[in-house]
């Protein structure tokens, strides 16, 4: 039978003494009570040890009690005073103390009061010699505290009078059983340690010690690993899928001109999407530099009169409107900027960035969020390739069922919306809008080949992946929540 170190030490201690009070064991072995109790419990469960409990009362004098032990109890002093003869009540001295003393004497039948005068009774006379039990207890206590197996009545009286303090306690007497004595003969003491140290390893002392056993079910303080934000993980996933398909990544700008944000996308200057309640306008900077005049003129002509057989929007284009600065509302601004400086095929680029919308934040809307947008340009691309690329992208992102619906975007024709089947919600969810850039957009930029363009609602995709209902949770920064967000989403 394996014994813990403290169990073994206790056993050896008692082997010498036969029996001992627990407090003695604690004191002499230098153990704290709970450690000893654990050892005692272990030993008695094995039948090596028996424990006898004993109640005792520890009596000690209070400050007042010490005073009376020296001067005598007030009633004793009054008694002595009255032995000189009867006295009027008002001449008994300190009023309060006299009242207490008189009370006691009358309760014991040692004094009586008549017509305002106090005198001893016969029993009072007798009591002048001899010692009351309270006085005896006070005297004994003045020599030192007493431990009594039971509390005597005078002890109770003195406790009530606040002269004596009584502490009740239980002592445990530990004694070895026969079995215990036998085992104690065989026990060899081994040092127990909690930690393996460098010193133990180099000196070899680790062989002599015993390592404290741990309870593996006991709790430990939690560890919090560093983590990538869940929304960032989705962005990374999408980015990597597109890189693997050979797309080149470009960046958009937070502050953009209306020219690139709208005009270059063939969005008429009086288009509802350009109204003040849709986008953030800027008061600073308020004006941007326009691209070369030629480009602005070509874009203006496409708006006013159209290009290549198009009628255009038929209104008067205002370059001052183009110069206004806005917070970028669509990453298409970035892809179209790129197209204008890279008008030759083959080309595949994408952009994942923040865009801004004039929205009050609620569970469905954010004022800034991520968009992912891309284009493919090559000779001979058709709408069939548009659908093919969409399907490829969505399959790569793990969506098995995809369907296409007509859509509308001011800068694409034909336009299409792609929906994926959400197996948990059992419904089709729109995740992607796409189309082929209109000639009115492409020709002014000097692009002569078809361009497929698509945009993923990254927020919606991330919400589906992460199982969110409230769009604000995409920017959740609660550290506990982030810790509990499974790596696989959901």
């Amino acid at each position: 039978m394996e014994l813990e170190t403290q169990e073994a030490r206790t056993l050896l201690f008692l082997k010498e003494r036969g029996e001992a009070w627990a407090e003695e064991v604690e004191r002499e072995m230098g153990l704290d009570p709970s450690t000893l109790m654990r050892a005692v419990l272990g030993l008695s469960q094995r039948g090596y040890l028996s424990v006898r409990e004993e109640r005792s009362f520890l009596l000690s004098l209070t400050e007042e009690g010490r005073k009376y032990a020296k001067e005598g109890l007030p009633e004793r002093r009054l008694l002595k005073k009255l032995a000189e003869g009867e006295k009027p009540v008002e001449e008994l001295g300190d009023r309060e103390e006299a009242a207490i003393a008189l009370g006691w004497l009358r309760r014991k039948g040692l004094a009586e009061v008549a017509e305002g005068r106090v005198r001893l009774t016969g029993r009072g006379e007798e009591a002048l010699s001899g010692e009351w039990p309270e006085e005896e207890l006070l005297r004994r206590l003045s020599e030192g505290d007493l431990s009594l197996p039971a509390l005597p009545p005078e002890g109770e009286v003195l406790e009530r009078r606040g002269l004596v303090e009584v502490k009740e306690r239980t002592r445990r007497l530990l004694s070895l059983t026969e079995e215990g004595r036998r085992v104690a003969g065989e026990v060899r003491l081994q040092e127990e340690v909690t930690e393996l140290t460098h010193e133990m390893l180099v000196t070899g002392r680790w062989k002599e010690v015993r390592f404290k056993r741990y309870d593996p079910s006991e709790g430990v303080p939690p560890l919090r690993p560093g983590r990538i934000h869940p929304q960032q993980r989705i962005i990374k996933e999408v980015r990597e899928a597109l890189l693997a398909m050979g797309f080149v990544e470009i960046k958009s700008r937070a502050v953009e001109s209306e020219f690139w944000n709208f005009d270059a996308l063939f969005q008429a200057q009086d288009h509802p999407a350009r109204e003040i309640h849709s986008n953030f306008t800027l008061s600073r900077p308020s004006r941007t530099k326009l691209p070369p005049r030629d480009l602005v003129r070509r874009v203006a002509r496409a708006h006013e009169r159209g290009v290549e057989g198009s009628t255009g929007w038929g209104y008067r284009f205002d370059p001052q409107v183009s110069r206004r600065a806005v917070l970028c509302s669509q990453t298409t601004a970035a892809t179209v900027r790129y197209l204008s400086s890279h008008p030759h095929p083959p080309l595949k680029v994408f952009c994942i960035d923040r865009v801004y919308r004039h929205e009050r934040i609620d569970y469905k809307h954010l004022a800034e969020f991520y968009q992912c947008e891309g284009i493919v340009m090559d000779e001979g691309l058709t709408f069939r390739d548009m659908l093919g690329y969409l399907k490829l992208i969505l399959t790569t992102l793990g969506f098995e069922r995809v369907r296409f619906r007509p859509g509308y975007f001011p800068f694409t024709e034909p336009s299409v919306e792609a929906e994926v089947y959400h197996p948990k919600r059992r419904e089709w969810v729109e995740v992607l809008g796409a189309g082929m850039f209109r000639p009115e957009l492409l020709r002014p930029l000097g692009v002569k080949h078809p361009v497929l363009a698509w945009g993923i609602g990254l927020s919606r995709l991330a919400m589906m992946r992460l199982g969110l209902e409230d769009i604000r949770d995409l920017f959740c920064n609660d550290l506990e929540a982030l810790q509990h967000w499974g790596m696989g989403g959901g």
Partner: protein, 550 residues
């Protein structure tokens, strides 16, 4: 997207057949109309670019074609009503154009009136909330032609406006009538207001605000006069065509009105189709579909176009309400929709390009990896903020990109550094155990006169430690650890910065270039963010770290 609501029974009678709700919704979706049946109400979401679908009559017209029940150009005939509208010179510069037409033989049931009012409202939204065009509908029998479209002084006339008990002047209408308050902005700055009068000088309406009570349409009305006024002739023509062709779908008869501008006249509405020329190859080139001219023609007829085929060339006539057609690509989309997106076989033509991550993202991902390795958790915060958070609570001042039309006081500028965002995150995590170690790799935006747009984004790494380890030596060790991963050993130079404890902040330099700064955050800043524990922070320019090719 605009939403229409119509009684399902009414819609079926417009369609001319009864179908199951579910089946109907599925067909509408393939046409690009998201539909949902809620009890007896059919709710439909229409694409922005199709004002001809802003009425149930228009949707039914399109669907009849889509289902193959009707083909070709919907033809509308209109006789002359003999009514004229004289346009006074004075409306030029105020609201110069008007178009008008007459509808005879109308039977106005409750459903028809509700549908008419909805169409008018949706078209108003489409027409720039009445700015580009506003539509008036009158009981023709209460009007004595000819009419005059002119203008008056703000106090120059008075009449009882619709839904109002007493007679008001135009100026009073703008102040007192709900519609006047709602649409008064369109007339802002005008010295005279537009007005439409009949022969006896009775007011029909004060466009684009309100009609008169006198000409109100009731269930007994059988003849309607409709007018559209606005800033551009194309818009008022289109508005009128859209209204009248919708009503024609209910079997009512149309008549034209003569508009006499100074020096010229026009007969409105003009219901002439628009003409496009299309070649057979164009469908193959754009759509990738090998369709013969006859097949294309058949599809377009189902999409309600008139088509003539000559060899491989097609002459396409588009109904007058199809304002969305600018180019043959728009017709080709009609071919694709008519063919059915679900029947077009997807194909992927290989386009050989090599994928490449943006340099700044490459660096950012590396930095994220290092920070996670150092036990930091990534947070993502908004770039929109306020001067209070970005400057005042940080005990600093400065300049930033400013929003001209903010939605709330919290979001009026773009942040110029990450630290305030991070302290905000720590504030919202106060009830969680310490220490906390967070970082963000994100953009700040700085004003820059030299930049094309007047501002530029800078990618930063920001990090904070609160609780154990929130001291200078630890945060400096983090800066050095990040720098070391990129092969840098930056030099720290003390700096006095109001956001940090004096003597406990430094800027980091490598070969003369500033990488960023770090320090122990000033107690006053901590208290403004309601933080009860010390914070040490760092902020570095990610793009100052050497990338792959440097």
């Amino acid at each position: 997207m605009p939403t229409l609501s119509v009684n399902f029974g009414d819609f079926c009678s417009l369609l001319g057949e009864r179908r199951k709700g579910e089946e109907l919704c599925e067909k509408l979706a393939l046409m690009g109309v998201e539909a949902e049946l809620l009890g007896k109400e059919l709710r439909m979401e229409v694409l922005h670019n199709r004002p001809d679908l802003l009425s149930p009559e228009g949707v039914a017209r399109a669907l009849r074609g889509f289902l193959g029940r009707e083909k070709g150009l919907p033809s509308y005939s209109a006789s002359r009503s003999g009514i004229t509208v004289r346009v006074d010179r004075s409306v030029k510069g105020i609201r110069p154009f008007i178009a008008a037409g007459v509808v005879r033989g109308a039977k106005l049931t409750e459903e028809v009136v509700a549908s008419l009012m909805q169409t008018q409202e949706k078209l108003h939204d489409f027409l720039g909330r009445r700015r580009k065009g506003s539509i008036g509908v009158y009981d023709l029998d209460k009007v004595e032609p000819p009419l005059t479209y002119t203008s008056v002084e703000p106090e120059g006339i008075s009449f009882v406006p619709l839904d109002f008990g007493e007679s008001l002047t135009p100026a009073q209408i703008l102040q007192l009538h709900p519609k006047g308050r709602e649409y008064g902005w369109i007339l802002q700055g005008k010295k005279r207001y537009p007005i439409l009068l009949d022969r006896r000088g009775r007011v029909l309406s004060m466009p684009p605000i309100i009609n008169s009570e006198d000409t109100r349409v009731t269930k007994n009305t059988t003849s309607l006069l409709i007018d559209v006024t606005g800033e551009r002739e194309e818009w008022v023509q289109l508005g009128l065509v859209l209204m009248m062709t919708s009503l024609a779908e209910r079997g009512f008869r149309l008549q034209t009105v003569r508009i006499r501008y100074p020096g010229r006249t026009a007969e409105t509405p003009s219901l002439e189709p628009r003409r496009f020329e299309l070649r057979e190859e164009e469908a193959r080139e754009l759509l990738g579909l090998d369709l013969k001219a006859e097949r294309i023609a058949e599809i377009l007829r189902r999409m309600r176009y008139g088509v003539e085929v000559k060899g491989k060339n097609l002459t396409v006539l588009a109904p007058p309400f199809r304002a969305d057609l600018l180019h043959t690509v728009d017709l080709l989309e009609e071919v694709a929709v008519g063919y059915g997106y679900d029947r077009i076989p997807p194909r992927v033509k290989g386009v050989n390009t090599v994928g490449r991550k943006a340099g700044v993202e490459e660096l950012s991902d590396l930095v994220r990896l290092i920070m996670v390795g150092l036990g930091f958790t990534e947070v993502m915060t908004y770039t929109l903020t306020s001067p209070k958070v970005n400057f005042q609570m940080m005990r600093t001042g400065g300049e930033a990109v400013e929003v001209g039309n903010p939605v709330s006081e919290e979001f009026t500028i773009l942040r110029t550094w990450l630290l305030p965002s991070l302290l905000g995150v720590l504030r919202s995590n106060r009830r969680h155990p310490l220490p906390q170690r967070i970082f963000e790799v994100g953009d700040v935006v700085l004003l820059d006169e030299k930049a094309e747009t007047g501002a530029r984004e800078v990618r930063r790494l920001g990090a904070c430690v609160i609780g154990k380890g929130a001291d200078w030596s630890h945060i400096k060790a983090v800066v050095e650890a990040v720098a070391r991963e990129f092969g840098l050993s930056p030099e720290a130079r003390p700096v006095d910065h109001p956001s940090f404890l004096e003597g406990r902040a430094a800027e980091f330099f490598w070969k003369g270039r500033k990488l960023g700064m770090a320090g122990e955050v000033h107690p006053e800043v901590l208290l403004s963010f309601e933080l009860g524990h010390p914070v040490a922070s760092l902020e570095l320019d990610v793009e100052a770290l050497p990338g792959k090719n440097k």
